[in-house]
């Protein structure tokens, strides 16, 4: 253990625990998932950073959106994100989730992912190298330390608006709201 971080461990052990046990949900969208097998296996061993892929969203706390998000995929992304236990962090991977990338005038690819779910960090590039994943992970550690990776809190707080955006795209959603949505005349959520 790094002795310089001993004070951090004593002050906020929960936060340090979150930092070094990031479990990525195995969810493949688009082309970026091709960078994940090399980064979790022997070539760039992601477990050095405490990053491990897990099978189900119920066990995960990091969500990598790898590549373009089509309208149909976004539905499963929202479902997966809502199933993950808190605290949860989202990282957009590649230029397509940021602003559409090369799909910026596509008929079936959404342009800004953060209109529908909160995103804590972005990795730019098309495609980013596996090293960029680790830069993002170390950056995420800093954000967790400073309490800035608060996407899940934002989702809870502004759920009414996120849900409204999702319903604008899909019409009526098939599943009930995750958090209670108050009436329009009531106070803000």
């Amino acid at each position: 253990m790094d002795r310089n971080q001993l004070i951090k461990w004593i002050k906020a052990p929960g936060k340090m625990g979150q930092k070094y046990s990031l479990h990525v949900v195995y969810f493949c969208t688009g082309c970026g998932i091709i960078e994940i097998p090399p980064s979790i296996t022997a070539r760039w061993d992601a477990e050095r950073f405490g990053v491990m892929p897990v099978a189900t969203p119920r066990q995960a706390n990091l969500f990598l959106i790898t590549g373009y998000v089509s309208v149909k995929t976004l539905k499963s992304i929202i479902r997966t994100y809502e199933q993950m236990p808190e605290p949860k962090f989202t990282v957009g991977f590649g230029s397509c989730p940021i602003n559409g990338g090369m799909y910026w005038d596509s008929y079936n690819t959404i342009k800004h992912l953060d209109k529908y779910i909160p995103v804590d960090g972005w990795i730019a590039g098309c495609m980013p190298r596996p090293e960029a994943v680790f830069v993002a992970v170390t950056h995420l550690w800093t954000l967790i330390d400073k309490d800035m990776a608060d996407g899940y809190k934002k989702y809870r707080k502004n759920y009414k608006y996120y849900r409204a955006n999702q319903e604008k795209l899909y019409g009526k959603m098939e599943w009930p709201p995750l958090f209670p949505i108050e009436d329009k005349k009531g106070s803000s959520p």
């Binding site: 309208v71 559409g100 005038d105 008929y107 800004h112």
Partner: protein, 172 residues
Amino acid sequence: MKLLKKKIELAFDNVRVDVPESNRMVINAGKDTVLSILDLLKSEGYAHLALISCVDWQKDKEFELVYILSAYMQDNNIYDDKQKENIILRTRISRGNPEFITVISIFENAEPYEREIHEFFGIDFKGHPRLTPLFLEREYKIPPFRKDFDTRKYVKEVFDEIPFVENEDGKK
């Protein structure tokens, strides 16, 4: 290949057969003869329907359906020239009344291809058991692969209209 060309030209009228390369044959047929040509090609050994594709010729006001056929290996692990051959069958249907007959009765694997073409071009295949949505989640007024579908306008109307979620202090 030459024998087959003669056979098709003799059997059907209103058919133009070209052989641009030694292993490729292009048949331009009228829409009434497509089923019988496919039946003949299947009995000749070209029993694999590789793809059905569609082209939108907006100026001619026509859709072009393209059927690509090839042959299966007959004996175990022995290639002959027939396996390298591709047969391309083209036919044109009117754009104003996009209807055609399904070819599931001859090639069963045509089902997803015809569903896809129905979804992206709006062509109605008569006799198809289920023309339900295959890939797309939203409904489009104009099918998205037609040439008169303006993607940029669509994106501006749908995706750009959705606002960013902002916190109460105005930050994103």
